[in-house]
């Protein structure tokens, strides 16, 4: 694990909203191909950290670098172009489009053709469309939603919408995927399938940073865990280390979680 090259570095990042300190002095790294989880009680600053890493929020101090590119000043769509793609807790789909069309929108980065070619229906643009449709089909199969391809994404159950959200993110061809509470709203068997999915995503060489409340799931899937509390990192290490860390048990897991 020490031999991994570093994909993302979060260096002394702080976020303050007026007097409120959402994150103070956060530093950690994520290695290439690693599954790292960011956990902590509600309001610990996990989603804020995601927003900083994906350009939706400018940190008050510190810097984030991804594959040696500093992210300061980049807009979210430019960060997406670096291969850093996130999912969202709530707004995970384009509700009025079919699942298949959702993925086509997600495939934006693969389908850039010149506008004039698209309007004139030139062969290049048509070939690109065919490729995108095929790719959308493959992705649907991968996340197991092919039966739902022609349903409006907004009509799916929350668990399925989460999967669409992940498929959308995968469509953007990430080299690193940031998942914000992906299994909330999923039942046990859906969660189990999702863990398999995360592993298969990683097996394709995609680095994963996960924010999640479902502790058993986090403990099963993570290579390493970073624990936040009140905007500050209180522990970092493998699931076994975290499970037995007194500060974590005190702040978050509560007594008895050590036997989980």
């Amino acid at each position: 694990m020490t031999a991994r090259s570093i994909a993302m570095t979060i260096d002394q990042v702080a976020v303050r909203f007026g007097g409120l300190v959402a994150i103070s002095d956060m530093s950690f790294t994520v290695g290439e191909g690693e599954i790292v989880s960011l956990i902590g009680p509600n309001g610990a600053g996990k989603t804020t950290a995601f927003n900083v890493m994906t350009g939706f929020l400018t940190p008050s101090a510190g810097r984030v670098t991804y594959r040696n590119t500093a992210l300061a000043g980049l807009k979210p769509h430019q960060i997406a172009d670096l291969g850093l793609i996130r999912t969202f807790q709530r707004t995970s789909v384009f509700p009025n489009d079919t699942v298949h069309d959702n993925l086509l929108i997600g495939l934006h980065r693969q389908g850039r053709v010149r506008l004039i070619d698209a309007i004139l229906g030139l062969p290049g643009a048509r070939a690109s469309e065919r490729r995108l449709r095929q790719r959308a089909g493959e992705l649907l199969e991968w996340v197991g939603l092919e039966r739902r391809a022609h349903d409006a994404a907004g009509s799916l159950s929350y668990g399925e919408q989460r999967l669409v959200g992940v498929a959308l993110a995968l469509a953007a061809e990430p080299s690193m995927l940031l998942l914000d509470e992906p299994v909330s709203g999923m039942n046990a068997s859906e969660t189990h399938r999702f863990v398999e999915l995360i592993r298969s995503i990683r097996d394709r060489g995609i680095t994963i940073l996960l924010v999640e409340h479902d502790m058993p799931m986090v403990m099963t899937v993570s290579d390493r865990i970073v624990v936040l509390n009140y905007g500050r990192i209180i522990a970092e290490g493998t699931p076994d280390v975290i499970r037995n860390d007194p500060a974590v048990i005190e702040a978050y897991l509560g007594h008895g979680a050590g036997h989980a």
Binding site: T54, F56, K75, P76, H77, A80, D81, I85, R86, T87, F88, Q89, R90, T91, S92, V93, F94, P95, N96, D97, T98, D101, L104, I105, G106, H108, R109, G111, R112, V113, L115, A118, I119, L120, G121, A125, S128, E129, L132, D151, A152, A153, G154, S155, Y158, G165, L168, A169, A171, A172
Partner: protein, 348 residues
């Protein structure tokens, strides 16, 4: 099915002059057609990106003035004793320039307002239309102000080997407007169904998510604004060369409102919506003219608008399409879209 309806509709529209000899009605159809093109261009922004341009008539009016001035020529003094003299060019050049200049205006308005969006775009477009109207009213040396630009030549099509075909009759102008409207329709249809159209839809439905998969908001909206403004400019040019007289009244706010009404009643976000809405509200004055005064007509439009939206809240075309689908599949269940709308409203 859809293709058959489209072909039948085009055939029906193309056959109109064969059985309709009344020049007054033909005239009403031509001006309606021009406004339908304007409404289609507005729909590209309002229906497919969710941005409401309440100054859309500015692009139409700019197209009209640019085209008229290009074909009439002008001689104006600029600050510093410079005189800008332009000899008359053929109207077809005016048509092309109208598209380019209106598109450029769309670019600048988009650039100014899309960084902040929403209400700002509405305000910027209203202000833009008003500023342009004041310029047209007060730059008398160029525009003749309220005296209007008159004697604007009719469009002449250069025919290789034959010479020129000047479109003077209503019949010719009817087909000219029909052809331009068809081209605009096809252009918008292609655009909306392309990769680019999906980016627009994504932004409208869930901007945060769209941005996170790499869609550039400002660029996408600005391109939509440019194309929308350019099409409106083309419609304005047709208007100038058909009516052959334009004054600053063309920029009146009520003209924008008319286009918005056409789009919303017909169904925003549907390709055929502005055509249906445009035909209804373009021809309604003709139907109402014998029975009520112009002032009373405006009240009647309001009544018709409310009645249509009450019965068909999403606009005529989307609502009817949905009912038709439901009848065919024999389902009484709500459509996926309606479901999605309720789902979107629920707090997650």
């Amino acid at each position: 099915m859809k293709a058959i309806i489209t072909i039948l509709a085009v055939a029906a529209l193309a056959s109109v002059p064969l059985w309709l000899r009344d020049p007054y009605l033909l005239n009403a159809l031509i001006t309606t057609g021009i406004f339908v093109i304007g409404a289609m261009s507005l729909n590209l922004l309002l229906g497919f990106t969710g941005q409401l341009s309440l100054g859309h008539i500015a692009f139409f009016g700019i197209g009209a003035y640019v085209s008229a001035l290009t074909s009439l020529g002008f001689d104006v003094g600029l600050p510093g004793d410079v005189r800008l003299v332009h000899a008359p060019w053929p109207p077809i050049a005016g048509f092309v320039l109208a598209i380019i200049v209106a598109g450029l205006c769309g670019y600048f308005v988009g650039l100014l307002s899309f960084r902040v969006r929403g209400a700002y775009f509405v305000i910027v477009t209203i202000s833009f239309a008003e500023v342009v109207r004041l310029v047209a009213l007060n730059w008398v040396e160029l525009t003749q102000g309220p005296l209007a630009l008159t004697n604007i030549p009719s469009i002449a099509l250069p025919l290789p080997g034959v010479g020129e075909l000047t479109l003077r009759t209503k019949l010719q102008n009817y087909y000219l407007v029909l052809v331009v409207a068809l081209i605009a329709y096809l252009l918008i249809a292609r655009l909306v169904h392309s990769h680019f159209g999906r980016s627009m839809r994504g932004l409208m439905e869930n901007e945060t998510l769209a941005v996170s998969v790499g869609i550039d908001v400002t660029r996408t909206l600005t391109i939509a604004a440019v194309i929308s403004a350019a099409i409106a400019g083309a419609a304005g040019s047709l208007y100038a060369h058909y009516i052959r007289i334009i004054d600053p009244e063309v920029f009146a706010f009520i003209n924008t409102v008319t286009m918005v009404i056409m789009v919303i009643t017909g169904g925003k976000g549907s390709l055929a919506g502005p055509v249906v809405g445009g035909l209804i509200f373009g021809l309604l004055p003709v139907a109402l003219r014998p029975v009520m005064a112009p002032e009373a007509q405006w009240i009647a439009y309001g009544g018709v608008l409310i009645a249509i939206l009450f019965v068909l809240p999403r606009g005529i075309v989307p609502s009817l399409a949905q009912r038709f689908r439901r009848r065919r599949t024999g389902r009484t269940a709500p459509s996926p879209v309606a479901l999605a709308e309720t789902a979107a409203k629920e707090p997650a």
